[in-house]
């Protein structure tokens, strides 16, 4: 085993790899729940571990121990496969995000396109999972998820291309290197950053746009039939989606790991926390939109604004 391979394996499994991402997932969920609780004037998780930090981990274990029901009507194989697929798909793009130093584990020209493709795949998978679990709620939830996806996909992808044009390359690591001279895209393309946040909220199905899982209307939308281990994996996948969203915001618009001094994971971590703060702040401020209001809003405002942003970037090549 040649030292490089060992370090590569170590990197994949240990530091910016699985174990780090797992603990980051639980930490991010805890942070999100604590922040939203603070906004809503209540405590949030308290008892498990210091300040409740182990609460998400405890929930995960509890869900694993719960009985795992597969509804008789649902077709078994896709129903069981769906949570696993969702977890893997949610995790893979994280390897393209540079966490340790300036280049990610997997960085090649065009990995931004791969990330975008995988994010669309997740949304599609969600629709398939809902359709497979043959429950009236989940079918309606799935249709709403599908509709919502049509809404936010286009502005999301356009706005993610913005920084790539600005930095002249399609690889996230290059974009970060370009931004490391202090020219963060959030300053040059503030509109792009705003649209990216809104679309990521819709991607994460978080309150203003949690239409597919509206508790008061359709119990919990497409999630309703999953229980036990499957639900645990889906919730974990959701945490990874949150990390993905936050790290996209940091690396594309706020210079990822590059900061005032030598690029290191600490700056990335701080910016990640800032982005999670922004996301949960928005989450606590709004009521839920109806699906037709959401679509109307997106097609009337978000998409033209995104096109405007791209044209500005194209013309001025900031």
């Amino acid at each position: 085993m040649v030292p490089e391979e060992i370090t590569a394996i170590l990197q994949v499994f240990l530091f910016p790899g699985f174990s780090f991402l797992f603990s980051l997932a639980f930490f991010v969920e805890w942070l999100d729940r604590k922040l939203v609780a603070k906004f809503q004037n209540r405590y949030g998780p308290l008892h498990v571990g210091p300040k409740g930090i182990l609460q998400p981990f405890a929930d995960f274990i509890k869900l694993l121990s719960k009985e795992d029901i597969t509804p008789a009507m649902a077709d078994r194989v896709p129903f069981i496969a769906m949570p696993l697929l969702m977890l893997t798909l949610a995790m893979t793009p994280l390897f393209c995000i540079p966490i340790n130093g300036c280049s990610a584990l997997v960085s090649f020209e065009g990995d931004l396109i791969v990330v975008m493709f995988i994010m669309t795949l997740i949304a599609l998978l969600l629709f398939a999972g809902a359709w497979v679990s043959t429950n009236r709620f989940s079918t309606v939830g799935g249709i709403r998820a599908g509709l919502q996806m049509f809404g936010y996909e286009i502005p999301l992808n356009i706005v993610m291309i913005g920084p790539a044009i600005g930095a002249g390359s399609l690889s996230i690591s290059e974009i970060i290197k370009w931004q490391s001279q202090g020219r963060w895209f959030i300053i040059t393309q503030p509109l792009g950053f705003a649209i990216l946040t809104i679309c990521l909220l819709a991607h994460l199905q978080v309150v203003p746009f949690d239409i597919p899982e509206a508790e008061t209307e359709i119990v919990s939308g497409w999630l309703v039939e999953f229980s036990g281990k499957k639900l645990a994996l889906i919730r974990l996948a959701r945490n990874f989606k949150l990390i993905l969203a936050a790290s996209l915001m940091t690396s594309l618009y706020m210079g990822g790991t590059s900061g005032l001094w030598q690029p290191n994971p600490l700056t990335y971590f701080i910016k990640l926390v800032v982005c999670v703060f922004i996301l949960s702040n928005l989450r606590a401020l709004f009521a839920r939109f109806r699906i037709d209001q959401f679509l109307a809003g997106v097609w009337r405002y978000l998409t033209p604004l995104a096109l405007l942003q791209i044209s500005i970037v194209e013309v001025l090549a900031w």
Partner: protein, 86 residues
């Protein structure tokens, strides 16, 4: 599963259905004297005297309505019971 209020004849079938839909392990806590014994509505033609006539109950919380502290106490007992059963 937390059950409050009297179990009426009409609602019994739904209570049973939900009880069966719950994934194992199942625990039931009956909150309020209506749930325990039908309290002031005893003798009415349309209620069952207490939830335990319909489904097995683990913890009873008395009071009409029970105070918040009484409910929290009931929950803690339930957690202790779950712990010991594990």
């Amino acid at each position: 599963m937390a059950v409050t209020g009297p179990v009426t004849r009409q609602a019994k079938s739904r209570l049973l259905r939900i009880y069966e839909q719950m994934p194992m392990p199942k625990y039931v806590i009956a909150i309020g004297s209506c749930a325990i014994s039908g309290a002031p509505f005893n003798g009415s033609y349309s209620i069952y005297e207490g939830v335990d006539k319909v489904i097995p109950v683990d913890v009873y919380v008395g009071g009409c309505p029970p105070r918040p502290e009484a409910i929290i106490n009931g929950m803690l007992r339930l957690i202790k019971k779950i712990g010991s059963a594990q």
